[in-house]
Structures are given as C-alpha cells and as structure tokens.
C-alpha cells in the first residue's frame, strides 16, 4: 500500500521535473529565436525587459510574454463548437509532452525505459495532428479550416518519410529502445549513425521541420495567405498552449535527432579526459545545435509552395529512404564498419 503510493508520488515528481524543464526551455527558446533572428537581420532583438530594474539584454522577455498571454481574454467565435474549441490546444500540448516520457537525457536518466520507445514517440507525435484538425474545425472559420487541412495533409505525408528514416536506425541498432540505440553508438564520433545513414539523417531532420510546421514549411500558418491558419481564432492562454506545444515538439525532434544519429549523451572524442566523459551536457549541446538550425532555416529560406512541399515529401524523400533502408540492410548483413 505505502510502497505503491510512494512509487506513484515519486513518478509524479519526475514527470513534473521533466514538464517544468521543457516549459522553461521553451520560454528561453523563444528568446533565443528572437536574438538569433535579430542577429541574422542585423537587429538587436528584445533588450528591454530585465529583472529588478536591470535590463540584462532583455533576459526577462519570456516571462513578460507569458504574463501578457495569460492575462488576455480568450475569445470564442460565434457558432464555434465550444467544447472542441477548448479541448484542441490541450490535445496539442498533452501529446507534445507525452512523448518526453521515453527520452533518455543521459545514461539511466529517463522516466520509463520501454522496449518499444521509438514507436511510442512516433505514435505520440502522430497524435499531435488531432489538436490541429479539431482546432481548425471547431473554430468555424474558413481560414482555420484551410490551415487545418493543409497541416493534416502535410503531417501525414512527412510522417511516412520520417518513419522510414527511423527504420534505417532500427536496422543499424537492432533495437527499438532509445537508450539501446545510443549505447550502440559508443566509441567516438566515427561510430555515430549519421555517417553510414547520412541521407536518412538529412531526410529525418527536414521531415522533422515539416512535421512541426516550421519555416520554410509553415503553409499551415501562412500569414500572408490564410492569416494564421488553424489557430487564427485563438487568443490568450489558448494560443499560448498551441505555441508551447509547437516549441516542445521542436525540442523533441532535435532531441530525437541527437539520440538516433549523433550518439545522444556520448562524447565525440575518445580517451580519459573530462571532455571524453559521457554526460547530459553533450546531449544538451547537440540538441541546441539542431534548434539553432531551425532558426537559421527560418531566417534564410522563403516559404515553399504547397505542391512543392507535397512533391518533396512523396517523390523525393520516400524513394531516398527506401533505397537507403536497402543499403543499410546490406551493410548490416555484411557487418560493415564499427556501426553494424
């Protein structure tokens, strides 16, 4: 009796720790994004809000944004389906956080180390589309519905390429367990999977960008065509939830790319120095690089046309991944290199 309660409480505490750190990282990711894009545009970016009268290069900006969003009124459009309208942002947020349950941050630092971790993550990310579709339909607005349909078609298309890219990793690692995948890459940078699976690595990351509806694949929001897409009718805290879900998914995609192709928490160099020790710092550093690339793409590339997005997904990425799965299978059969 007592043990079960303690176990449940301890698990809840761990869940809370993960959720809180993800939320905090999301808050500072928005600050980081604005600073990076400001730097690329030769601007300063946010530099006003600080703490206790000190400006500190605008480091208090995320908290000011959160306070503003939470105190704003949530407006319900006329004839909107109220129940679904309210529940859609919650679905987006819940699925974005649920996937974090199996992500190993460091050796043993994971909430649940399930055997089928990789397909669990895929299942959870594929559920995120419900938030988008329900929001688009429940808003009773033409822009929202158009954005939702675009987003749904895009997410389903790129999920296939993404799933196939992961099949290559599964072939190489021989396991679906995320900790097992990282442990299969031990022994320095040359043993990481991005070398034999380079095309899959590129396809995975670009599909990840498309899957999170970020630029240059953000036709689901498309400010210049359909205003803001599926969340055009949302304001205040409800909009903040969508925002949080989108950024949590970005971090998730980056973390997964780190785990599967760049050796997770492992160090790139061998030897005995303190730099060669595997630690969570390596995981954070690698994930940050992918997050930076997200903003780099956003500041550099114009938006894709919708038919080009579909063509890229179906006619370019899926054939590449299928061919490279065959290559990976051949490499696996002949036990090539340190990877297989």
């Amino acid at each position: 009796m007592m043990e079960t309660v303690i176990y449940l409480a301890w698990t809840m505490a761990k869940i809370l720790a993960i959720v809180l750190s993800v939320v905090l990282v999301v808050a500072y990711l928005t600050y980081f994004e604005r600073k990076v894009i400001g730097f690329m545009h030769a601007r300063i970016g946010p530099n006003r809000v600080g703490f206790l009268g000190f400006k500190l290069r605008g480091i208090g900006q995320p908290f000011a944004d959160v306070l503003k969003l939470l105190t704003k009124e949530i407006i319900f459009p006329q004839k909107a389906n109220k129940f679904l309208f309210v529940i859609a942002p919650m679905i987006t947020l819940a699925t974005a956080f649920a996937a974090w349950a199996v992500i190993p941050f460091s050796d043993g630092l994971v909430l649940t180390d399930v055997n089928a971790g990789l397909i669990y993550v895929l299942a959870m990310t594929s559920l995120g589309v419900y938030g988008v579709i329900i929001a688009g339909w429940a808003s009773n607005s033409k822009y929202a519905l158009l954005g939702a349909l675009r987003s749904a078609a895009q997410i389903i298309s790129y999920e296939i390429a993404m799933g196939f890219a992961l099949v290559g990793v599964i072939v190489a690692a021989g396991t679906l367990n995320l900790s097992g995948i990282v442990n299969g890459q031990q022994g320095g940078i040359l043993n990481w999977y991005f070398i034999p699976l380079f095309p899959l690595f590129i396809v995975y990351y670009i599909s990840g960008v498309a899957e999170t509806n970020r630029l240059p694949f953000d036709v689901a929001e498309g400010e210049s065509e359909i205003v803001a897409g599926f969340h055009v009718e949302y304001s205040g805290a409800a909009f903040a939830l969508f925002f949080l879900g989108e950024y949590a998914n970005m971090i998730l995609i980056s973390a997964l790319a780190t785990i599967m192709f760049l050796g997770g928490w492992l160090s790139p160099i061998g030897g005995d120095s303190w730099l060669a020790q595997p630690s969570i710092l390596w995981f954070i550093a690698k994930t940050s690089v992918f997050l930076y690339v997200y903003f780099w793409l956003r500041a550099t590339l114009p938006r894709y046309r919708y038919d080009q997005i579909m063509r890229l997904g179906w006619k370019v990425f899926i054939p590449i991944t299928i061919v490279w799965i065959l290559v990976a299978a051949v490499l696996k059969v002949y036990q090539i290199g340190p990877w297989f």
């Binding site: 079960t4 055997n115 397909i119 669990y120 299942a123 594929s126 419900y130 329900i134 349909l149 063509r311």
Partner: protein, 208 residues
C-alpha cells in the same frame, strides 16, 4: 492497495470507457463527434492491451489507426457538407442489418472464448515473461519464420489495394495545368532574361 488491484481497477475503468465510447460512436448525432469517439475507443483498447503487456500491439494500434486512418476519416468528414442529422442513427434504415451483424460477431466471440477457456489457456492469471522479453522481437521472429507466406500474401493484397485505389481516382483532364517540376528546376535564366546595359537618364527631374 496492491499493484494487482490497481491493474484490475484500471482494466475495468478503461474497459468501461471503451464500451461507452463504442456505444457513443453510433448514438451521437454529430458525425465529427462520432469519429472522435471512435478515436477515443481505439485509445482505450490500446490501454487495455498495454495492461496485458502487449506494448507493441498497443502502440501500433495508436500509430496506425489513430494517427493515420482516423485522421483521414476526420479529413473527409470535415470536407463533406453534412447536414445535421436530426434523429439518432439508431433509428435509421440499416439498424436491423447492423444489429444482425453485431449479434453474429457476439456469438462467434462467445464460441471462441468457450473453446479457449476449457482447453489451453489458464483463465485466471497472466503469463508473465522476464524483464528482457521483447514483444517486438517475438512478433518479428514469428512473422518472418512461421507465417512468412501469409505475411507476404497480406503485403501483396495491400499493395494491390493501393494500386487499385490510385487507379480508381486518377483522372487526366485535358485542361489540367499540371506543372512538371523537373522542367521548372532545369530552367536556364539566360533563356528568359536579357540583361540590358543602358546609360543613366540625364534629366533635371522632369518627366520626359
């Protein structure tokens, strides 16, 4: 509260939710709600499988049916202009046929359970496997050794279904303005633009 009791409570809770949402699929008036209740039903069934420690099946159910199939269902339902159904679907014309099919399936299930109960499976306890037992490996080994021909036949049937669906819906219209992407990519700017160098105009700011 022992872990077994917790699992029992969870089983009955999610079982009841699965049955309830299954009933709601056919009884609610709004078609979008129907589809969403079906999603919810799948979810609860997946959790029941998870309680049986069949995690691979549970996650695949969510991944394939909830993540892909039901999204397309919702997609279609939202695109269609469905007039609000004024009466519950229970009273529509084909209810009797549906009830007949449901009854037949119930009888089949009962027969299966009766056969199983009296012969092989112990009915009262779960067969537990060790910590290192992997569902995925077991399913993979079985599919590709014992049932490899059945598995390949199923794959071919699916392929035929895909080809048939595409052939049924493909239409070539003469006024179709489809774009050839490779032609677009290989366009040479020199064929289309002519760079002209000309002297600057010398006016005093007046229109010529």
């Amino acid at each position: 509260m022992s872990p077994e009791l917790l699992i029992q409570i969870l089983f009955y809770l999610f079982g009841a939710l699965a049955i309830g949402s299954g009933m709601a699929v056919v009884s609610v008036r709004n078609t979008v709600y129907s589809a969403l209740f079906l999603v919810f039903c799948f979810f609860n069934v997946a959790i029941l499988w998870m309680l049986l420690e069949a995690e691979f099946l549970a996650i695949i159910l969510v991944l394939v049916y909830v993540g892909a199939v039901m999204v397309l269902f919702l997609f279609v339902i939202m695109m269609l202009d469905i007039k609000k159904v004024t009466k519950s679907q229970f009273k529509s014309g084909y209810t009797k046929a549906a009830l007949l099919i449901a009854a037949a399936m119930l009888v089949e299930l009962m027969m299966l359970f009766g056969y199983r109960m009296k012969s092989q499976l112990p009915a009262d306890e779960l067969i537990r496997q060790g910590e290192s037992y992997s569902n995925v490996t077991e399913i993979g080994m079985t599919l590709f050794t014992d049932y490899v021909y059945a598995f390949e036949v199923a794959a071919v049937i699916l392929l035929v279904a895909i080809v048939a669906a595409i052939m049924l819906t493909i239409r070539k219209r003469p006024e179709n303005k489809q774009i050839d992407a490779s032609k677009q990519i290989h366009v040479n700017p020199a064929d289309r633009f002519r760079v002209v160098s000309m002297d600057a105009e010398k006016g005093n700011g007046e229109e010529s």
